[in-house]
Symmetry: C2
Subunit: 477 residues, 2 copies
């Protein structure tokens, strides 16, 4: 495809995408294909001869589009709703064309320095102090893995060189997080060789927040048993109920106990740009590291995870390593971002953060987040006002956990009724909700986060839930 | 930015990129900015008010473009030259707009199944048997880290649960690779808690290939010393000289010794699609895992690393973990790709592999690779024929390592002369070469891999080298 063909097909594709972004209602939000259907519709070998772009796009529309679950649909209310906003999409196009590698400063000064600048912008917006240096990773899972690797580096002498095995001088290690923390913490302790047993999950209070007193007791108990506390992961916006751990109280403990504090603010950290929600990061200035995901609630297309660290030198002592073929004159005078992690190759991700922040401006981003939070409050009020529904958790941000609780149903029946209700609403194709479990109960979960999600979408989802519930109740009556 | 503004700016951006792709010669290949220059030209805070896309693009051109090192320039001959080809760029645009998450099958059936299908296409093209299951990671660094985590899982009882620390039953572990293997192997053993000392680098032969007999001796020696051999990383296309380890002989040893064999074919694996080079993966059918990077030499924009594994169940037993909020009805009936690694969120990367393979067709890709290899052979012949230059390594693929070796210069002077020569050619802005060290000697390195690199670019680089060398020789005479 030469540049003139690129120009032609690029224009066609931009038009297709504009249509796609304009008319999401054409598609069922949750894909309706059955497992294996897409794969069966595609040839089992690559073609020998080149195929026309039009033919590829025709197959895309015929075979792949029915297999899309529409994350960029305003009635996508599952998991954490995210947005690939228009300026972010354009930035990703440019990033693919430039194909920069932000591994060494010299392999892309622009990508390297724009990363530092835009992370500085975001740091100020969420109110973290200057002492936090930033780096972009792909996902919060990788960010948390790096945080815990740095914690291990700080806690265990010579661990980079000597590792953890066959060392009489290294006791069993401990990492702490709440019962509600994300599974990426489990994966991180497994990956870095601490083992799943090293992760001690601390009980939560009535609002699903880590009990700081339990944390303190657990650390003391572990020290008495000869274990070495290495890190605490506090969460600002847990995945089920978006609860906020008491970061300040946890920071007090970590400071006293000399334990690395990592704050997983992947979702909730974005809300700190609102004066009304700045408090959710109270105490995070004393954390050792923090992750917030602009691809979650800041309208940046996936993937872009912002990692901030007050002790980036520890991350670098864990990972920096320069073979001859990557040595440059600038070494020492600049930060080569490959030194801050496992990954050598690094996309030009800062471009989309830059374009999104400039194109929206901070004021408009605050307004969108405030609107999402307000929509969630309204929904929570509707749930609270309906005697057939029951809210299962507080609503600190823009996620509401609740269940259908028709009178006269036993516990088991209520569980099954909610599962059926979830299927029924998702089967309509009009919305996509997901579920979780709150204090052992099956919970419906509505997450408001897409840029274009407005009152009518949330109201529509609520009306649909009630209509489906009425139908299910009648059917079983 | 509403859909109609997206359409307008999208068209403008497509035109900008078409121009960019058409006239790379407008730019110096290696950026000429000084450290800090870009950052200093940008504001230190995000704007409050929205800015026009035109203003953002104007700043992009004014501030960022001078800070780009042009990876998508046909005279980029450094590191491994890569290409963001036109169909790959368009696919990445589409991927950003769709914003799919290929974590669970249901969160994107299309992304999940297209990943399996396109990895099947690539697997057949490079001649790996059906027994290899594939998954896409971002980088080979992450792929190798996962391979070594799986090797650890296979070798150490209960390591997922109990980790490596404070275990009397776990001896010191060993991973082997050649002296020429990539630094990502070092980073992987550090990250997963084995420690840098666990990595034993095996000597290479005259052609920079791992000595299988030395590997055998090292494993035996380590066993006698009570260490546990866990994995061998063999490289097909090392980073300095693109040497190819004797994979078949290494596979024999790994089979006998029950040690995990991971093949790092990030660069060289692509060449196996050529009948003339299929032999570079001889023996890899007996590897446990293999990585090849379509973003390196298959014209796919960064990042897309293809990981193949004959024992993906071991990767899954190391990592699979499903919290309630990610549980779906399909669990069991489908592969949820989040089970195959640390990262939960996963971009729709398969789309660009699909579009590139279809748009080019396998035949044309083979022709491009064969052409690159032929260009490297020609360059090697010019080097060999010039009494002032000396080739430092064989040329199995499309990379040539050599040095300027004017008569009468001592060793130290020759080193410095080559450093000066490298600066001189890169300072012209006409080409970008990098260097390495071969048997202790500073080596110039020309890597041919960009789609549009043709005879005139390689000849131009060679003529420029000779002209700069002559100028330097005259200046010091």
């Amino acid at each position: 495809m030469d540049p003139s063909a690129f120009r032609r097909h690029g224009h066609e594709l931009v038009d297709w995408i504009a249509e796609y972004l304009e008319h999401p209602e054409r598609y069922p939000v949750l894909s309706r294909v059955r497992p294996g259907e897409i794969a069966a519709a595609l040839p089992s070998e690559a073609p020998e001869a080149p195929e026309a772009f039009g033919a590829i796009m025709a197959d895309f529309e015929r075979v792949l589009v029915p297999g899309l679950t529409h994350w960029n649909h305003p009635s996508f209310l599952a998991y954490f709703a995210i947005t690939g906003s228009a300026p972010g999409i354009l930035a990703d196009l440019l990033s693919a064309a430039l194909n920069q590698q932000a591994m060494l400063w010299r392999t892309s000064p622009a990508a390297t320095e724009l990363e530092l600048v835009t992370l500085g912008w975001l740091r100020k917006l969420i109110g973290l102090p200057d002492a936090f240096e930033g780096v972009i990773y792909d996902t919060a899972s990788i960010a948390t893995m790096h945080a815990l690797t740095a914690a291990r580096e700080a806690a265990v002498a010579d661990v980079r060189t000597r590792g953890l095995a066959a060392r009489a001088d290294v006791p069993a290690l401990r990492v702490y997080c709440s019962e509600e923390a994300h599974s990426s913490v489990d994966k991180a302790v497994i990956a870095i060789g601490l083992g799943h047993d090293s992760l001690r999950r601390i009980a939560v209070d009535d609002s699903f927040r880590m009990r700081a007193d339990h944390l303190q007791n657990a650390i003391e108990e572990d020290r008495r048993a000869g274990r070495l506390p290495v890190a605490v992961v506090a969460t600002v916006g847990t995945t089920s109920t978006t609860s906020v751990d008491p970061v300040a109280a946890i920071a007090d403990i970590c400071g006293r106990e000399c334990v690395w504090l990592h704050v997983d603010a992947a979702y909730g950290g974005a809300a700190a740009i609102l004066p009304s929600h700045a408090h959710v990061l109270a105490g995070a200035d004393r954390a050792d590291s923090l992750v917030v995901n602009p691809h979650k609630w800041l309208f940046v297309p996936f993937d872009l995870s912002a990692f901030y660290c007050r002790r980036m030198d520890v991350v670098r002592s864990a990972f920096a390593l320069t073979p001859e073929y990557l040595r440059t004159d600038e070494t020492g005078a600049v930060h080569n971002l490959m030194d801050t992690g496992v990954q050598l190759g690094r996309r030009f991700r800062a471009l989309k953060l830059w374009m999104v922040l400039r194109s929206f401006g901070a004021h408009a981003i605050r307004e969108h987040l405030a609107r999402h939070i307000e929509l969630a409050r309204e929904l929570a009020a509707w749930v609270d006002a309906d005697p057939d529904f029951e809210r299962l958790a507080p609503v600190p941000f823009s996620v509401v956990c609740f269940r259908w609780a028709p009178r006269g149903l036993g516990d088991e029946e209520t569980e099954r009724a909610n599962e059926r209700l979830l299927h029924a609403v998702n089967d309509t194709g009009e919305v996509f909700l997901s579920h979780t479990r709150v204090r052992g109960r099956f919970a419906l979960r509505i997450a408001i986060g897409h840029l274009n999600t407005r009152d009518e979408h949330v109201r529509g989802a609520w009306n649909l839930l009630r209509a489906c519930a009425a139908r299910l109740a009648n059917a079983s009556a």
